[in-house]
């Protein structure tokens, strides 16, 4: 149903405008608060005219939260997670769509179901695995009695150990698997006509070649969309990085925000906290702005 009357148009625009204000108002307050000095920011109500201390506040936040190294960590972390997700889900979807093997659809649905198990739900077992990535294998060896067998025969105690706590792989790897991405790729691969795969086959290209020569170039908009979403998602991760990196060397910017929030008995310098927030939300914003053209195209994905 498409209505086109001036009154209806006006109503629509008013609703959209309200939505825009609701979305932007908190953002505006953050920006304004970041420009005040500590005295002004604590006046109730806070003046809505911007002050003059933006640069000072930014500098203070930067130094106090050690943002130089933390932002670098964050970028490294978010880029690795997003890139890992893009690569892994492309390969997973490729195997699910283009290869006939037993348990194929079971596997797909198993991946799909993990959508219902976000990180927060499975954080304890994930932490246990990160503490020793080989623990599951150790468990298998123990249960099947192979550990016992080896110990009895050779006197050697098998104990597999590969800790990932306080390391970049530990930060990144547990977050790399993605059902959303696999599903997005699968849906895209299903729209590629079978004849294209057959033509490539007749032209002599094997599966790996087909993946690199056909599927990857064709799914570029998809990749960009997925990368953008996942970069922002990874950037905003709080719980996992907090848990897995106790060593400040590996800390990321978002967890560092906690340092800037005034404690109960401390100085209520919300202006600095807001300035820090501004700095930390800049990188995902830049990524979204740069990518948004391809991003939209990747999600609608109707290019023929």
């Amino acid at each position: 149903m498409v209505e086109r009357t001036p009154i209806f148009d006006a109503i629509c625009q008013v609703i959209l405008l309200i939505g825009l204000i609701v979305a932007l108002l908190p953002f505006a307050i953050v920006i304004i608060a970041a420009t005040h000095d500590i005295r002004t920011v604590n006046i109730v109500p806070m003046p809505l005219m911007p002050g003059h201390d933006l640069m000072a506040n930014l500098h203070e936040a930067w130094v106090r939260a050690d943002l130089a190294s933390k932002l670098l960590n964050s970028i490294l972390f978010a880029v690795s997670v997003a890139a890992g997700k893009v690569i892994l889900s492309a390969m997973a979807a490729f195997s699910i769509v283009y290869f006939r093997f037993p348990g194929r659809s079971l596997l797909f649905w198993a991946i799909f179901i993990t959508l219902m198990l976000p990180l927060e739900v499975r954080i304890v077992p994930t932490y246990a695995v990160a503490a020793n990535a080989l623990a599951p294998f150790q468990a298998i060896l123990d249960v099947t009695g192979i550990t016992w067998l080896i110990r009895t025969v050779s006197g050697f105690q098998v104990s597999l150990q590969w800790g990932l706590l306080n390391s970049y792989p530990g930060l990144v790897l547990p977050l790399v698997a993605t059902a959303t991405g696999t599903f997005l790729y699968r849906q895209f691969f299903l729209t590629i006509p079978d004849e294209l795969a057959e033509a490539a086959k007749m032209d002599g290209s094997g599966p790996v070649r087909f993946f690199f020569d056909m599927l990857l170039p064709l799914s570029r908009p998809n990749m960009i969309a997925l990368f953008t979403i996942m970069f922002v998602w990874a950037w905003n991760q709080y719980l996992w990085p907090l848990l897995v990196t106790t060593d400040p060397k590996f800390g990321i910017a978002v967890t560092q925000l906690k340092l800037l929030i005034p404690s109960e008995f401390g100085l209520p310098d919300w202006n600095v906290a807001m300035a820090g927030t501004l700095i930390i939300m800049a990188p995902p914003l830049i990524v979204v702005i740069l990518m948004q053209r391809w991003f939209v195209r990747g999600l609608i994905s109707t290019e023929k």
Binding site: E195, A199, K201, M202, D203, S205, D213, M214
Partner: protein
């Protein structure tokens, strides 16, 4: 160039059989057209030759080598798909040259061969374009160039012209014919369009429901259809078919008023048999109503084709088409007669649907149909 041998090839998806034992020998350099209605298994057969479908039973050999378990790329076949299947993200040149790139042909030679091939199909000035920016006919030519550039032993065409408009189809038909004459490679062309089949093929293979109904030169298939199915499928308008019995005088009886004398029916021991009598629209003639020996009919409507016209008549519920060359002014409902020359009669067994051949004079009589 290569010969192809197909030995009792079958294809079944799970329990669902789609090709029931096809035997066919294709000579080197021959242009074979596989003709049949959709779902008759013709594309499946082609795809088995290409290696895109597994062969459930039987054997396919190319140049004497059994290829059942050989990968598509090693069979030396090139295929042109119905929807072209061009690589959308590559330029025309890259599309044509992709097979060579995969085969590891050096860049310089690749460029030379792509250009030479593009010249054959008149695409030299489009090499930098993307398939998106081409018309249907040009895309079709890219698909053909992609097949030609590999210098394959066998060309496989899977209904390549059915997405083109009528005019372009005729032009491309001529182009494919010319190309075959020039390259001389063995070609197998699958289509459901009988005009395409008649004009392109050295030999036709008419398929129905997973079986080969007839193999023969276009004229042979048209003039001596081997079964009722072939008779109804090949030729436009379709052959008129009437169900009836042969009486003891050797006359085909459709009903009380409509009888056709069948030559040699008695000698061929057809008396008392249920048969299907077929007459081409071009072979039947319109005569005055009541002419002796003619079948009474009423005019249903007249189809004007420009060069000729087809008069559709009604034989008490059975429609019967007659092609005439002269302009006619016949109103619907007019009573007419249809005259049939005994020489133009095709007879098919009503039970098996197979052709019953009139014994030529002096030749031995066909095996008796009545034990």
């Amino acid at each position: 160039m290569a010969s192809i041998g197909i030995r009792s090839v079958r294809k079944a998806y799970q329990k669902n059989a789609v090709v029931h034992g096809v035997d066919l020998d294709i000579a080197s350099g021959e242009f074979i057209v596989i003709l049949g209605p959709s779902g008759c298994g013709k594309s499946t057969l082609l795809r088995m030759i290409a290696g895109l479908e597994e062969i459930s039973a039987g054997e396919i050999s190319i140049d004497g080598v059994v290829v059942n378990n050989i990968e598509p790329r090693e069979r030396g076949c090139a295929m042109v798909f119905q929807n072209y299947a061009l690589y959308p993200h590559m330029s025309v040149a890259d599309n044509i040259g992709y097979a060579l790139k995969v085969a590891g042909v050096p860049k310089e030679e690749r460029r030379r061969r792509v250009e030479a091939t593009a010249k054959i199909v008149a695409l030299e000035s489009f090499l930098d374009r993307r398939p998106m920016a081409l018309s249907g006919g040009q895309r079709q030519r890219v698909a053909m160039a992609r097949a030609i550039v590999r210098e394959p032993k066998v060309f496989l065409f899977d209904e390549p012209l059915s997405n083109l408009d009528a005019k372009l189809r005729v032009a491309m038909r001529a182009e494919i014919r010319r190309l075959h004459r020039r390259l001389g490679a063995t070609s197998i062309f699958v289509t459901h369009d009988q005009v395409e089949a008649m004009t392109l093929g050295d030999r036709l293979v008419v398929m129905n429901a997973g079986r080969v109904e007839q193999v023969g030169a276009p004229a042979e298939v048209y003039n001596r259809p081997a079964s009722r199915f072939v008779a109804s499928f090949v030729g436009s308008p379709a052959m008129n078919l009437m169900e009836g019995t042969i009486d003891r005088h050797g006359v085909f009886v459709y009903d009380e008023e409509r009888r056709v004398a069948v030559p040699d029916a008695v000698e061929n021991r057809l008396v008392g048999h249920k048969v299907t009598l077929g007459v081409r629209a071009e072979a039947a003639r319109l005569v005055e109503a009541g002419t002796s020996g003619s079948l009474p009919a009423t005019v249903d409507f007249v189809e004007e084709l420009g060069a000729g016209r087809v008069v559709h008549t009604d034989l008490d519920g059975l429609s019967f088409a007659v092609a005439v060359t002269e302009p006619v002014a016949l109103l619907p409902g007019t009573a007419v007669g249809i005259a049939i020359d005994p020489a133009d009669i095709h007879l098919f067994s009503s039970e098996t649907g197979l052709r019953i051949d009139a014994a030529p004079a002096g030749a031995q009589v066909e095996p008796p149909l009545v034990p």
